[in-house]
Symmetry: C2
Subunit: 304 residues, 2 copies
């Protein structure tokens, strides 16, 4: 049996991969540049293969290097999770839990969620980051977040997901448009360019929205909003209509507006909310409890 590499050296490799620069990686690892340099060399020697190609000014990770980085990451996060588990005395709802969430869910759910969790598990230290799905996936991959709350479907990229519940879409219409829209809304009765949507990055791709996009292009206004709040303001100010998640409505996003809520014509108008996490995690128990708490706060729970 050959000698195992040290976790420290593996972490140096990870830092180097993240920062693509010996100095910055060393700083991030709280060691000197020389330490990190020799650490990497040490690792290459122990593993008996080249991890990075040097060309004196810069360097590049080899394919093997990338693979080793992947595996090292899994090993290091497992070890961190072990330490975390031990220091929480085996209570899976203690210590830090780093959650990522998208902006069309976060503001309307996390307030209540963190309140509920704090009450139920007072020793849980919630750390929440709001960003786009893709950014959050990167943070998850890099081990900077433990679990994501996303709108499904999503490109899992090797991660695992649990569906937690559904969030129905409602149509929200300016009064003038509401009068002629019918109930549930008949898209054909709406004026051209009267439907406002979010930018694509927000992936509010519920069935209703997709159907609307495909079948009623002329009804859709070419301007897109960058947040739910501005979406609603646009709909109100320009006498239009839009789709808003039930979650946001429940959280009072329409307060102070005179918009009218109606059902979309498509009965399957909802988005699914899910938890996403690394398949190599050893915190499934924690995520399970999180999922249960989350499901109770959603309009329709469907834990699976």
């Amino acid at each position: 049996m050959s000698k195992l590499p040290s976790l420290k050296n593996l972490s140096y490799l990870l830092a180097l991969h993240q920062h693509q620069n010996f100095n910055r990686a060393a700083q991030a690892s709280f060691v000197s540049q020389s330490t990190l340099s020799s650490g990497i060399q040490n690792l290459e020697e122990q593993l008996g293969c080249q991890l990075i190609e040097r060309d004196h000014k810069s360097f590049l990770f080899t394919a093997m290097g990338e693979e080793i980085v992947e595996r090292s990451r899994a090993i290091l996060t497992s070890t961190e999770e072990l330490v975390n588990y031990a220091q929480s005395q085996g209570n899976v709802m203690e210590g830090p839990l780093r959650i990522g969430c998208i902006p069309t869910i976060g503001p309307f759910l996390l307030g209540l969620l963190s309140k509920t969790l704090q009450q139920q598990y007072p020793k849980l230290e919630l750390l929440i980051r709001e960003d786009t799905t893709q950014q959050l996936m990167n943070f998850l991959r890099d081990g900077e977040l433990d679990v994501l709350i996303l709108a499904l479907p999503v490109d899992l990229q090797g991660n695992q997901q649990w569906i937690v519940g559904k969030d129905p879409f409602k149509m929200v219409l300016a009064p003038a448009v509401a009068e002629i829209a019918g109930d549930p809304v008949n898209y054909n009765k709406l004026p051209d360019k009267s439907i406002f949507l979010l930018e694509k990055e927000h992936c509010m791709t519920g069935h209703a929205v997709t159907a609307c996009r495909l079948g009623n292009k002329e009804k859709i206004n070419p301007f897109t909003a960058s947040s739910l709040h501005s979406l609603i303001q646009m709909a109100e100010a320009l006498n239009g209509a839009t789709f808003v998640p039930q979650l946001a409505i429940d959280a009072g996003i329409l307060a102070g507006t005179d918009l009218v809520i109606k059902d979309p014509s498509d009965g399957e108008a909802y988005r699914e909310i899910g938890l996403v996490f690394r398949p190599t995690t050893s915190r499934r128990q924690t995520f399970r409890k999180l999922a249960e708490t989350l499901a109770e706060l959603l309009p329709e729970a469907t834990l699976r």
Copy 2:
């Protein structure tokens, strides 16, 4: 972020768990008893919790200790697999591969398998262990084997399985019995106590065998054989009949006997052969290629 424990200390903990004795664990780890002792203490201090309860003469792992052992095992095997992968230059069919196999498969399949593998992947170092299913599962859990070849179904105990193919059961009868048995065999025409079976541990629990057990108890001889070879000898010597896997027949287990081969009456008379491995493994690519090679050698491949 608190400091991570060293892999060495984790391995000391594993050794201690395996040997339940500081001296033997230290020997197995090639260190002195004092080193191991302080390593464990070190670990407990770093993790901030008690892993073993000492009562001056002996000790006991705490629940937390057991959990940490589990997790440490996953971390260490991942690291070993990383090293192995690197040292094989990323070629997943190089280096050691430790296979466990049950005795009703091993002698009839592994000869051909290892020959095929050696030819296709000359740098693969095959290590084969033959034992009961339960023993093999223990070796797998303890990281002493990488993958098992078993007859399904099997209690996975948290492991993962891939089904590789089917191995049909044939009936094998002494000539006198064969004459009256019909073709396919009608169990009712057989004399009482004329069917011989293996000991239960061998889990030759194909549908045919199970059906026969349930519906024709009086036909079954109360004596059980401890190997396929003795099973066949009993059937021949005592003018009886028995079930034998196609695999064993193909390998020539009936050579030199005057037994007659017939189909069992049940059309679904087969056992499934599968690969079983730890869910935390990072050698799926290796196992995949093994599965493909294996499937080609089985009477009926059904890779899934």
